[in-house]
Amino acid sequence: MTLTIRDLCVARGGLPVLEGVSFSLEHGQALILRGPNGSGKTTLLRTLAGLQPPLSGAITGAQDRIAYAAHSDGLKAMLSVTENLRFWAAVFGQRDITPAVESFALAPLQDRLAGTLSAGQKRRLGLARLLVTGRPIWVLDEPTVSLDREAVAMFAQAVRAHLASGGSALIATHIDLGLEAATLDVARHRATSQTRAGATDEAFL
């Protein structure tokens, strides 16, 4: 099933941010979201992940198929790297964490507490979490923050493998990831001040 977005309008803090966003994401495809700071990438991704309702428009094919990763990785400082991964694997009904550990070269850090990792190491662990969800659609908000060049390549490799196995990915980023993928510039969908915020409360806006 494809992820299809039709004429989506998303809001943040009670104000429409983006409107008329439409695209579809097939198996094996990736889509890169671009746009200047504050243009609404994060808002769009949170809406797709089901964390906030859209103002209007339709999202199909997202239900229970999205793995979302943002700046906060849901990692516990007091649990070790493997314990963190095992927990998320269990929550998503998976068992095997070795592919995740290997893809992000976490083996040497396996028994370290997550709290004692450096910024980039923590980020690698957060990305490894995606592999233990078993979900087909990755929705990623600035995934490569704090990563060095080598780790960015590692990440691009993991995304490619995910796409090759039939998954898809939606990535908001400011840097060049070296992925061959379509790009969507959200700046073009900026909500105009005419957009209304809701059904019965037109007068507020």
Partner: protein, 218 residues
């Protein structure tokens, strides 16, 4: 499900004594009471059941802000909300973990503190029974308060304000059971009420908590 429970328990133990601290706070509050009201044995004996219940309640309350706030800050709640586990179940489990790390130890240690407070002989059994029956309700109601205030930065105090009035019925019946027990009266009626409240709250409250949390995650 079990994964979440074991993780929460592991975190409580590792992050510097989830068990120990609830207990210690209970201990200290009850120890402070004689300093505050004066060391008169019969006075202490009279207020003992009430003070022990109040101490348990405050110890519970004080550990509530760990219940969801940490998971909120590091994004765990966002990820749990997008996971296959229903949020109601996740919150019930978190309440259970909170009870195991806070309520249960309180129940177990309460007889010792009863001795410190000059609790009369027959009161011990009923103190333990009432706490065992009442503290789960405290954890579940507390989870609701935590879910309401999780978006608010450092909402600990706000949460106490919201949760304490909700604790009133449980406290009244719980303390009444302990007090009647201590005075050798029949505690069946309040005991039944207490059990009723706990059962109702455990069954229904997670729905409200999950609703509140979903709003906060938006």
């Amino acid at each position: 499900m079990t994964a979440l429970l074991t993780r929460d328990l592991a975190l409580a133990i590792r992050a510097g004594g989830g068990f120990g601290l609830g207990l210690a706070f209970f201990l200290i509050v009850t120890v402070m009471v004689p300093f505050a009201v004066g060391p008169v044995p019969e006075l202490l004996a009279r207020i003992a059941p009430g003070v022990l219940w109040l101490g348990a309640l405050l110890a519970c309350l004080l550990s509530l802000d760990r219940l969801l706030a940490l998971d909120w800050e590091d994004g765990t709640l966002d990820l749990l909300a997008t996971s296959p586990l229903p949020l109601e179940a996740a919150l019930s489990i978190k309440a259970l973990a909170h009870w195991i790390t806070t309520g249960l130890p309180l129940v177990l240690i309460s007889p010792v503190l009863g001795v410190l407070m000059n609790l009369p002989g027959p009161g011990f059994v009923w103190l333990v029974v009432s706490l065992a029956l009442g503290t789960p309700a405290l954890s579940v109601i507390g989870t609701f308060g935590a879910a309401l205030t999780v978006g608010v930065k450092r909402g600990g105090l706000l949460m106490s304000l919201l949760v304490l009035p909700l604790y009133v019925p449980t406290l009244i019946f719980g303390a009444e059971v302990a007090r009647r027990g201590a005075q050798g009266m029949d505690p069946t009626t309040p005991l039944l009420m207490l059990a009723g409240i706990t059962a109702g709250v455990v069954a229904l409250m997670p729905l409200a908590s999950a609703a509140a949390l979903r709003v906060n995650l938006r």
